[in-house]
C-alpha cells in the first residue's frame, strides 16, 4: 500500500506538472470559463431545435441533457487519462521502461496521472453547472442540491470510471498500434450507451439492454438526482425513474466492487502479457 501511495503521489505530481504547464494561470481560468460556456450554448441550441421537431410530451429535457453532458465530460477525461499516460510515457517520452523497472507500483502511478488530469479539468464542471443555472435557467439551486447523495454518488462513480480507465490502460499496454484510440473509442461508445445525451427510452430495445448493463448509466442518473430536484419526475420518461435511490446506490456500490475485482487482475495480466511480448519499451513511431 505504501508503494501504491508513493507512486500515486509521483504520478499526480508529474500529471500536474505536464498537464498544467502548458499555459499561465490567467489563460487557464479563461479556458476553464470559455470551454464550458461554449459547450453549454451548443447543447442548448441543439435541444431547442430538437424540441421544435419532436418531443410529443412537451417536457423540457434541457436539465437532463445538460447535467448528463457536463458530468460525462469527467468520464471521458478520466477514462482516457491512464491509457494516454501509458502511450505518452512509452512512445513519446520513452520513459515507461524506466518507471517499470523501479520498485514502485505501476497502478499507483497511473491512478496519480488520472487524478491529476481530472483535478486540473474539474473546475470546468461546477463552472458549467453555474453557467447553466444562471444563463440557461437550468433548475440547479444550492438549496435543493442533495449534498450527501452528491458526495456518495460522485465518489462511487469516480471509482467505477477509475477502474475502467485502469482496464483501458492495460489494453493500451498490450496494443502496438492504434492504442491512442482505445480511450476515445470507449468513451465515445459510452456516450451513447449511458444516457448522457438523451433518456434511454428513446433507444431501440437491444440498445436499452446494453445501456442498463453499463454502471455509468446509474452514475449519471444519480448525479442528476443529486443536482436536479425534479430528476425522477415520470414526465421525462427517462427509463430509470422507477428505480429507488437506495437501489441505485446499491447498484453503484456493487459495480464499483465488481470493477475493482475485474480490473486489478486484468491490469496485472496485461502487464505480464506486455512483458511477454516485449511491449513495455516499444516505440512504433506511429
Amino acid at each position: 500500500m505504501q508503494r501504491f501511495w508513493q507512486a500515486f503521489r509521483v504520478g499526480a505530481w508529474l500529471g500536474w506538472k505536464t498537464e498544467s504547464n502548458w499555459t499561465n494561470p490567467l489563460f487557464y481560468i479563461l479556458w476553464s470559463l470559455l470551454l464550458p460556456m461554449s459547450n453549454g450554448l451548443i447543447m442548448t441550441m441543439m435541444l431547442r431545435v430538437l424540441q421544435r421537431t419532436g418531443n410529443a410530451s412537451g417536457a423540457d429535457l434541457l436539465p437532463y441533457v445538460f447535467i448528463g453532458t457536463v458530468v460525462y465530460s469527467i468520464v471521458a477525461l478520466l477514462l482516457d487519462s491512464m491509457a494516454w499516460a501509458v502511450l505518452e510515457d512509452r512512445e513519446r517520452m520513452g520513459m515507461l521502461k524506466y518507471i517499470a523497472i523501479t520498485p514502485s507500483s505501476m497502478y499507483g502511478y497511473l491512478w496519480g496521472r488520472g487524478f491529476a488530469k481530472v483535478s486540473i479539468n474539474f473546475l470546468a464542471v461546477p463552472l458549467t453547472l453555474t453557467f447553466g443555472a444562471l444563463v440557461l435557467d437550468i433548475p440547479i439551486r444550492l438549496s435543493t442540491i442533495d449534498w450527501p447523495l452528491l458526495l456518495v454518488v460522485s465518489l462511487l462513480g469516480l471509482l467505477i470510471v477509475t477502474f475502467a480507465a485502469q482496464i483501458l490502460a492495460g489494453v493500451t499496454l498490450m496494443i502496438a498500434r492504434h492504442a491512442g484510440f482505445v480511450g476515445q473509442a470507449v468513451s465515445g461508445a459510452l456516450y451513447l450507451f449511458t444516457g448522457a445525451l438523451f433518456p434511454i427510452t428513446v433507444l431501440p430495445n437491444w440498445m436499452q439492454v446494453i445501456t442498463r448493463a453499463v454502471p455509468l448509466t446509474y452514475w449519471l442518473e444519480g448525479m442528476r438526482r443529486a443536482l436536479w430536484v425534479d430528476a425522477q419526475n415520470p414526465v421525462y420518461n427517462t427509463g430509470l425513474n422507477q428505480l429507488s435511490t437506495s437501489n441505485l446506490l446499491l447498484i453503484l456500490l456493487g459495480s464499483a466492487i465488481a470493477m475493482a475485482v475485474i480490473s486489478i487482475p486484468l491490469q496485472r495480466r496485461a502487464e505480464h502479457r506486455a512483458k511477454e511480448k516485449g511491449l513495455l519499451d516499444m516505440n512504433t513511431a506511429y
Binding site: 508503494r3 507512486a7 509521483v10 517520452m93
Partner: protein, 329 residues
C-alpha cells in the same frame, strides 16, 4: 548481504514469434557475473545484447532458462530485483520535456522511495560531476541529445543501484562526454566495492578500456567470455596484419578465405581505398595473400603487422567485423 553472483543466467532463451517467422534472439545464454565486476557485452545490432538486458531488468520475460539478478529470480521475484537495479539506455531522447533537469531526476528518486533531502544532495553532486550543474533548472526540451544522455546517466546512478545496466550509454555522445561517462563509471566502481556494471556496446575500444570481462555475443549465443587481455591472448599464436589496398572485389576476399592458414579476413571500405584485417596462422602465408591481391588487379598501399585487438578476436569468432555485421543487419 552480497550474493555470490550479481548476475547468473542458465540456458537463457528468448524467442520472438511473428506471423511470418520465429526469431531466436537468445539461444542458451549462460552467464555468471560476480559483484564488483564491470562486465561487457560486445556484439553487433541484433546479437542479443539488449534482449539480455531487458530480461535482466524485468522488462521482458524469457522464453526459457533462468536468470537471477542480485540473487533474485527475474521472473518470480521481479519486485526484489527492481530494488537493486537501474538502467541507462543510449541513443534515445527520453525525458519529460516540460520538466526541468532537476525535476526529472528528483521524480525518479521518488519512485525508489528516496528521502527528498538525500535525493537533492545526490542530484547536486552528480550534476556537478557530469558538468550539468548550470542546467539544473533548464527544461529538458531545451537540452541537446548529448545533455539528455548525461541526465539519463545521472538518473541511473542516483539510486545507488547494486547492478547498473548501461545499454550503449555513449551512443550519440561527443568524444569528451563519452570519456567523462566512461571515467566516472570506472570511478564509481572503484569507490563503491561490490557494485556491478553490465555494459553493452559495439565500441571495441570502450569494451577494451572499461570492462573486466567481455562476452562476445552473436546470433543470440555467447561465443567467448573472458578478460579483454585473455581474449586477445587467444590470438597470440596467430599473426595479425593490417593492409591498406586499392578497392578490392568480394571475389578477392573469397579467394583469400580459401587459402589454408587464413583464419579470417575483414574489409572496411574507405574513400578510394580499403582497409583489410588479416589473421593468419603463420607469416609464411602472407605471400599467397599478396599474390591473390595482384591476381584481382588490386594494389597494396601499405602493410603493417600489429598486436591483436578485440576487433580481431571478434572477427576471428564471428567471421566478419562488427561494421560488416551492422551493414548486413
Amino acid at each position: 548481504m552480497q550474493p555470490e553472483y550479481a548476475i547468473r543466467t542458465v540456458n537463457l532463451q528468448r524467442t520472438y514469434k511473428t506471423k511470418e517467422r520465429v526469431l531466436k534472439a537468445l539461444d542458451g545464454v549462460d552467464l555468471a557475473v560476480r559483484p564488483g565486476e564491470l562486465f561487457g557485452f560486445l556484439g553487433p545490432n541484433g546479437a542479443g545484447k539488449t534482449t539480455t538486458i531487458k530480461i535482466l531488468t524485468t522488462l521482458l520475460l524469457p522464453s526459457g532458462g533462468t536468470a537471477e539478478v542480485w540473487g533474485f529470480d527475474v521472473l518470480h521475484e521481479a519486485d526484489a530485483v527492481r530494488r537493486h537495479i537501474n538502467m541507462v539506455s543510449g541513443g534515445e531522447s527520453s525525458g519529460y520535456g516540460l520538466l526541468t533537469v532537476r525535476e526529472n531526476l528528483w521524480m525518479f528518486t521518488q519512485f525508489h522511495g528516496m528521502d527528498s533531502k538525500v535525493a537533492n544532495k545526490r542530484i547536486d553532486e552528480l550534476l556537478e560531476v557530469m558538468g550539468l550543474a548550470d542546467r539544473a533548472k533548464t527544461r529538458v526540451s531545451f537540452l541537446s541529445t548529448g545533455l539528455r544522455q548525461k541526465m539519463n546517466y545521472i538518473r541511473g546512478l542516483l539510486t545507488d543501484p547494486d547492478v547498473l545496466f548501461l545499454d550503449e550509454p555513449t551512443l550519440g555522445l561527443d568524444v569528451e562526454a563519452a570519456r567523462t561517462l566512461r571515467t566516472y563509471t570506472r570511478h564509481w566502481l572503484d569507490t563503491n566495492p561490490g557494485k556491478t556494471v553490465v555494459l553493452t556496446t559495439h565500441y571495441m575500444q570502450e569494451a577494451d578500456e572499461l570492462c573486466d570481462r567481455v562476452a562476445i555475443i552473436s546470433g543470440g549465443t555467447i561465443l567467448a567470455c573472458d578478460t579483454p587481455t585473455s581474449l586477445k591472448y587467444s590470438l597470440q599464436q596467430d599473426v595479425v596484419f593490417r593492409l591498406f589496398t586499392t578497392p578490392v572485389a568480394p571475389a578477392f576476399l573469397q579467394a583469400v578465405e580459401q587459402i589454408a592458414g587464413v583464419q579470417s579476413i575483414s574489409q572496411r571500405s574507405g574513400d578510394q581505398r580499403d582497409e583489410l584485417s588479416l589473421i593468419l596462422r603463420d607469416d609464411a602465408i602472407l605471400p599467397q595473400v599478396l599474390s591473390q591481391l595482384a591476381n584481382h588487379n588490386a594494389g597494396l598501399l601499405s602493410l603493417e603487422k600489429r598486436q591483436p585487438t578485440l576487433e580481431d578476436v571478434f572477427v576471428n569468432l564471428v567471421g566478419h567485423s562488427l561494421s560488416e555485421s551492422e551493414a548486413t543487419a
